[in-house]
């Protein structure tokens, strides 16, 4: 698949359970799009400051700020989205403060369930239509770092559910616009992110099913994150299997000595131990990758474990490289 084609819908929604690296994938997709010369906006709806950490920038606010060349970020709080909505729709500026300073929004959004989500999606619609207040330029790609899995389905289905609470009027019409935006495969697509482990895979399959059958949204490739790399060839693995005996271990020490690297028994334990660890984790991951590939109709893009314990921009760039290469093979 051409990257152009991959980036065709303007809105890419990245979703997944907590701890699977959803924000990292969102950031990598942003970099992929920016490299294609697009103006990209990444929106956080559950702001935790992760985006800022990934791009090494200050935390984004409600107004887009440039995180890295071509990539803007913003975080959307429902209160701010409501204030903007009232300003655009009813030209009300003053009263917004009353809304935000009391907990009134909490009560009303409680009374009309999903209203908070709709306000956030409404902001995304403004961005898509280049109609947001103070928006100086349009965006070619909007990446939505969706709420964690539990809340994600209700987030995306909020506009569909609103019709029960509000049957008439402007809000109903606007909810329909949001449904159109989300359901049009030319405008929006959802990418699920998972780890190759039992629980995240089970949840991903369930979510994927619900997105397809209940919400009727278009999905793109699923990203399986944190996959340990294949280090050894089959031949090498076999060699090592035999190598638990004296000769092979002795062989390692000899090989080392040949280039002036002194290996003691502890070093050999570490070499063999980490190899065993890698292979054991890979075996577990392979099992769940098989299940994922078998049970989801979407293609699966595997992203490598980056041997890090917290990611920064260079890691995001590396993942962007991998995404580019893998999209080309789809």
């Amino acid at each position: 698949m051409l990257l152009e084609e991959f980036l065709d819908p303007k809105i890419l929604i990245v979703a997944g359970k907590g701890g699977v690296g959803r924000s990292t994938v969102a950031a990598a997709l942003a970099v992929v799009a920016a490299r294609q010369g697009r103006r990209v906006c990444v929106t956080e709806v559950d702001p935790k400051g992760t985006l800022a950490r990934l791009f090494g920038s200050t935390a984004p606010s409600y107004q887009p700020s440039e995180l890295s060349p071509g990539v803007w970020g913003l975080s959307i709080l429902p209160e701010q989205a409501l204030a903007e909505y009232l300003e655009v729709q009813y030209h009300i500026k003053r009263i917004s403060r009353v809304f935000t300073s009391t907990h009134f929004l909490d009560y009303i959004t409680t009374a009309a369930p999903g209203l908070k989500d709709i306000l956030v999606l409404g902001k995304i619609w403004y961005l898509e239509q280049n109609r947001a207040i103070g928006q100086r330029h349009g965006f070619d790609t909007i990446i939505v770092d969706a709420p964690a899995a539990g809340h994600m389905l209700s987030f995306l289905s909020a506009p569909m559910g609103l019709s029960d609470a509000v049957r008439l009027g402007p809000v109903r019409r606007q909810a329909d616009w949001l449904v159109d935006m989300l359901r049009d495969p030319k405008r929006s697509r959802v990418h699920l992110v998972t780890l190759a482990e039992e629980m995240p895979v089970a949840e991903t399959l369930e979510t994927s099913h619900a997105l397809e059958k209940r919400l009727k949204l278009q999905q793109g490739p699923v990203f399986a994150n944190g996959i340990y790399p294949a280090l050894f060839s089959k031949q090498q693995r076999d060699d090592l299997e035999d190598g638990s005996g004296e000769t092979a271990v002795g062989g390692l020490i000899e090989q080392g000595a040949g280039i002036g690297l002194k290996l003691d028994d502890e070093d050999v334990d570490a070499l063999v131990g980490y190899r065993d660890f890698l292979e054991a984790r890979r075996a577990i991951q392979a099992r769940y990758l098989r299940r994922l590939k078998k049970e989801t109709p979407q293609p699966v893009i595997t992203l490598p474990f980056l041997f890090s314990a917290g990611l920064a921009l260079p890691d995001v760039e590396t993942l962007a490289d991998v995404v580019e290469a893998k999209v080309a093979t789809l």
């Binding site: 701890g19 009813y90 009263i95 539990g150 090989q255 502890e266 570490a270 190899r275 984790r281």
Partner: protein, 374 residues
């Protein structure tokens, strides 16, 4: 006896908290399992839908009431529990319905609340309701006195904070004066004078009505009218739960992984516990990459020579590269954890390295429990 063993042997309530994806639910189940093994009648209460927990305990599904884990499950794993293990999964809506039915002054009032559309919306979806109901359930289980120990699993951290504040926030919510003021024109008791006094609110409501529709406002007003007479009960239980959580029969176990963001969450949470005067018990660090050796530190030049050598040499080159990569992770994880050590002393930590098998079944859970208790 490590800190975890001490807690499971003595406390009546254990709260597990931490970021998403760090193995919180599994940890909660493993703690409960061990307490049951040691002779305590234990219930594990999970809040997030955790079908895997059910299956790893050999239960078809978890319900809103504690269900006993069969003895056969233990026997099959070669274990002889001296106590009993129960598991349940919080159903927010059912629990809320029970609370309303139990505490409404009259049956009719309870029915009116249960039938109200606003109530039906909040009982399942209002943010904070889940946490609030978890507290109500905890209160009910603890007050019932049936269990020696209740282990409770919480939603991911930011919301675990809500979890602590939930009872207070919810009672504030139900009692809000601001809300009453806004809704007065819709309250049946309002009457002419009220309407007159409330012109500003009426203007404001006109806008709200245009946005959400008048039915929504009527439902809301009706709900709050019906809630009259129940506030004191809500507040009393909120106070009781707060006392329970602060008392020395309770202990908080913070669960984390060594990854940067979950360490940040754990640090945040530890600080919060401290601030709120809540009893911290132990820190469980899951998913730690194992440290094997002290790092070989082969020079790039040596690795390059091996790479261009024969098959055995190339194999060694790869083994060295692999070892170096894992050592890098080990060091980065250690650095993240060092930051945490400034908040939580290391003797309160239990490290659980990545296991070579997953806790997808009962024996897997037993293996985790063994790790936790050293």
């Amino acid at each position: 006896m490590n800190s975890i063993a001490e807690i499971t042997a003595r406390k009546e309530v254990i709260v597990c908290a931490g970021a998403g994806g760090v193995g919180k639910t599994t940890t909660a189940a493993a703690l409960a399992l061990r307490a049951a093994m040691d002779g305590r009648k234990t219930a594990v209460l999970t809040i997030d839908p955790a079908r895997r927990l059910a299956s790893s305990l050999g239960l078809k599904e978890l319900s809103n009431e504690p269900v006993r884990v069969g003895k056969r499950k233990f026997t099959a794993a070669g274990l002889k529990p001296k106590g009993e293990l129960y598991a349940m999964m919080l159903n927010t809506k059912t629990t809320f319905d029970e609370v309303v039915a139990r505490y409404a002054p009259t049956r009719e009032q309870a029915d009116r609340i249960l039938a109200n559309r606003f109530y039906r919306n909040i009982s399942g979806t209002l943010s904070g309701t889940q946490e609030y109901m978890a507290m109500e359930k905890l209160y009910e289980l603890h007050a019932g006195g049936e269990f020696d120990l209740i282990v409770i699993d919480t939603p991911p951290t930011r919301r675990a904070l809500d979890f602590l504040d939930a009872p207070r926030r919810m009672t504030d919510f139900f009692e809000s004066r601001v809300l009453r003021w806004f809704l007065l024109p819709y309250m049946k008791a309002g009457g002419g004078i009220m309407r007159f006094a409330n012109v500003a609110a009426t203007t404001f409501l006109r806008i709200v009505k245009r946005i959400v529709g008048s039915e929504v406002l009527e439902d809301t007003a009706e709900f709050f009218t019906n809630l009259e007479g129940m506030y004191d009960g809500f507040k009393q239980r909120a106070r009781d739960v707060a006392h329970l959580l602060q008392s020395d029969v309770t202990s908080f176990v913070v669960v984390t992984s060594p990854a940067e963001d979950s360490v940040a969450e754990a640090t945040f949470f530890a600080a919060r516990l401290n601030e709120a005067g809540l009893p911290f018990g132990a820190l469980v660090v899951n998913r730690v990459h194992p440290k094997i050796g002290d790092g070989i530190g082969a020079k790039p030049r040596q690795r390059a020579r091996l790479e261009s050598g024969n098959q055995r040499a190339q194999l060694l080159a790869k083994l060295l590269a692999n070892e170096e990569a894992f050592m890098r992770v080990v060091h980065l994880e250690e650095r993240n954890l060092d930051a945490l050590a400034r908040k939580i002393p290391r003797h309160r930590w239990i490290r659980v390295p990545y296991l070579q098998r997953e806790a997808v079944d009962f024996p897997g859970l037993v293996a985790i429990a063994d790790r936790l208790f050293g």
